[in-house]
C-alpha cells in the first residue's frame, strides 16, 4: 500500500509494523508528529503497545532501558535538546547491551535558540556506543525502523540503534511511501527473544553491575569488538530486507556514479537527494563527478569507504555540524579512515546547513567546481554564508 505521508508519519508506520511493547517518549519539535501518531495508534488499537507519558527525555530512555531489561521491545524518539538531556542514559543503554531503537530528528542545538535542522545533536553522541544510521528520505526512515530492530536484537550485535532523519526537511515534507504489510514485516522481523539475557526465578541475574579498574576495561573492549563486527550484520540485514521488500540501501554506504569520477562529495541524510540531482545534471554537462552516501557513522565503515575511494583524486565532505576549534566531525572521521589508503584523495570540508540554512543545488555545484579546479583551498569551506567571513 502506498500513502502520501511525511517523514514523521513514516517513522510511526515503521514502528507500528515492528510491534514494540512499550513506547516512552517526550514530544519535541520536529519529532512531535511521530510520537503523536504512535499515541493515536495505541489509542485506536492499531498498535498494541503501552504508551508511557514520561516527564522528560532522560526518563524516556530510562523507561526504555527498563522495558528492554526484562526482554521487551522498546521504542523512543527525540531531537536536539531532548537528545542532549537524555545523553547520560545513552551509554547506560549501550553498556548494558539493550537493543533499544530510537528515532532522532536532527535539529540545531542552542544557543542561539533554533528549532531547524542540522546534525550538531547526534554528533555529540557518536561516542555513546549506539549504532547511528542517517536516512535520505521518508521511505528509508520507515524501512530503517524495521531493519533497526533486527540489527539491534541480533545476538552478535546487541546494541541500541539511533535512526537519524533531518529535522523538517525529512520529518515535515511529504512523499509517496510504500507501507509493507504486517505479514511481510512479521516474516522479516521475528518477535524479540532475549530469554537467555533476562532474569527469571530459576535464573537470577544482577542488573547494572559495577566493574572497577580490575574488570571494566575488558567489558569495554568486548563492546567495541561487537560494535565493530556489527558492520557485517547490518550489511546482511539490508540484503535480507532487499530480498523481502525489493528496496536496497547498500548497507554501510552507497556509491553513486563514482566509477570514473574525479571529484566526489560525501553526504549523510537528506542532502544526498539534492546532491544526486546535481551529479546527474553535471554528468550530462560532461563533468566527472560522483556521490558517496555515508549511511552509518557508527560503526564507521572504514574498509568500505577506503575501497570505494580508490582512484578518486578529490573528495569533499559535507558536514552539517562544527566541532568548535577544529572542523566538521564527519570530515575528521573520513580523514582518519583515508589516511590508511596508499594514495588518499585530497579532502576538503564543506560545512553548511547549520541552523536549517539551505544547501542549494548551486551550492553543491560550486563545491564540485572547487574540488575539480585544482586550486589550493582552505581545508574548511562554508556553504551559503550571507556575509563575508
Amino acid at each position: 500500500m502506498e500513502k502520501f505521508i511525511c517523514g514523521n508519519d513514516a517513522v510511526a508506520e515503521g514502528v507500528r509494523l515492528a510491534r514494540p511493547h512499550v513506547i516512552s517518549a517526550y514530544p519535541i519539535t520536529p519529532q512531535t508528529i511521530a510520537v503523536e501518531r504512535l499515541s493515536d495508534m495505541c489509542e485506536d488499537g492499531s498498535l498494541k503497545a503501552d504508551y508511557m507519558h514520561v516527564e522528560s527525555e532522560h526518563s524516556a530512555l530510562a523507561a526504555a532501558m527498563g522495558v528492554s531489561s526484562v526482554g521487551a521491545r522498546a521504542f523512543t524518539a527525540t531531537s536536539s535538546q531532548g537528545l542532549l538531556y537524555m545523553a547520560e542514559c545513552l551509554p547506560y543503554a549501550s553498556g548494558a547491551r539493550l537493543p533499544i531503537v530510537m528515532m532522532n530528528a536532527n535539529r540545531a542545538i542552542a544557543t542561539p535558540w533554533n528549532i531547524y535542522g542540522d546534525q550538531m545533536d547526534s554528533m555529540f553522541l557518536l561516542n555513546s556506543g549506539w549504532i547511528q544510521v542517517y536516512v535520505e528520505d521518508a521511505q528509508e526512515a520507515l524501512d530503517m525502523m524495521i531493519q533497526a530492530y533486527r540489527i539491534a536484537e541480533d545476538k552478535r550485535v546487541m546494541a541500541p540503534v539511533m535512526v537519524n532523519l533531518d529535522g523538517f526537511v525529512l520529518t515535515h515534507t511529504y512523499e509517496l511511501v510504500n507501507i509493507p504489510s504486517q505479514e511481510d514485516v512479521d516474516a522479516f522481523l521475528p518477535p524479540i527473544n532475549l530469554e537467555d539475557q533476562v532474569m527469571t526465578i530459576d535464573n537470577p541475574k544482577s542488573l547494572c553491575i559495577s566493574a572497577g579498574n580490575d574488570f571494566n576495561f575488558e567489558f569495554k573492549i568486548k563492546q567495541e569488538q561487537d560494535l565493530t563486527n556489527s558492520k557485517s550484520v547490518l550489511e546482511e540485514v539490508d540484503e535480507a530486507f532487499s530480498q523481502a521488500f525489493g528496496r536496497k540501501y547498500h548497507g554501510l554506504l552507497e556509491t553513486y556514479k563514482m566509477e570514473d569520477a574525479e571529484a566526489v562529495l560525501i553526504t549523510t541524510g537528506s542532502i544526498t537527494g539534492t546532491t544526486r540531482i546535481v551529479v546527474d545534471e553535471m554528468r550530462q554537462a560532461g563533468h566527472k563527478v560522483g556521490l558517496l552516501k555515508l549511511r552509518y557513522l557508527r560503526p564507521f565503515p572504514q574498509e568500505a569507504l577506503n575501497k570505494a575511494l580508490e582512484g578518486i583524486k578529490a573528495i569533499g565532505v559535507i558536514d552539517k555540524n562544527i566541532s568548535f576549534g577544529y572542523e566538521g566531525t564527519i570530515y575528521t572521521n573520513v580523514n582518519s579512515s583515508i589516511i590508511h589508503m596508499e594514495t588518499p584523495p585530497k579532502s576538503i570540508n564543506f560545512i553548511g546547513g547549520l541552523g536549517g540554512r539551505d544547501i542549494t543545488k548551486a551550492n553543491i555545484e560550486e563545491a564540485f567546481q572547487k574540488l575539480m579546479s585544482g586550486d589550493s583551498l582552505d581545508r574548511v569551506q562554508y556553504m551559503n554564508v550571507r556575509c563575508e567571513q
Partner: protein, 99 residues
C-alpha cells in the same frame, strides 16, 4: 533464608567470555570483601540461645544459621558490630584484630 554459598568463579580467558553488558548471572562473588574490618564479632556459644536476632540484623548476611552453633563468614563480615549491639544475652564480643 540461608546465605548463598560462594560459587566458584572462573576468570574469563577472553573478552568474549565476559558477560554481555552489565547484566550477569547472580549468586557468585568475584572477590572477598572484608579488608576494612578492625573488630570482628566472636560468638560465645556457651551463652548463645540461638534466638537468631544477629542473623536477622546482619546487613551483610554473613551469619549462617544452617549450622549449630552459628558460624560467621569472615570473608564478607565488615565488622560493623550491629550483631553484638543487638544481642540480648550479650554473647557476641567485638574483638580487635591484629594485622
Amino acid at each position: 533464608m540461608q546465605r548463598p554459598k560462594l560459587k566458584q568463579w572462573q576468570e574469563p580467558k577472553s573478552v568474549q567470555d565476559y558477560p554481555l553488558g552489565s547484566t550477569c548471572k547472580s549468586d557468585h562473588l568475584t572477590s572477598i570483601n572484608a579488608g576494612w574490618r578492625t573488630y570482628k564479632p566472636v560468638i560465645d556459644h556457651d551463652k548463645c540461645v540461638m534466638c537468631l536476632r544477629c542473623f536477622l540484623v546482619c546487613p551483610d548476611g554473613v551469619i549462617d544459621k544452617s549450622t549449630n552453633p552459628l558460624t560467621i563468614d569472615y570473608d564478607y563480615c565488615k565488622g560493623c558490630g550491629v550483631c553484638a549491639h543487638e544481642c540480648k544475652p550479650k554473647c557476641i564480643e567485638m574483638v580487635k584484630e591484629e594485622k
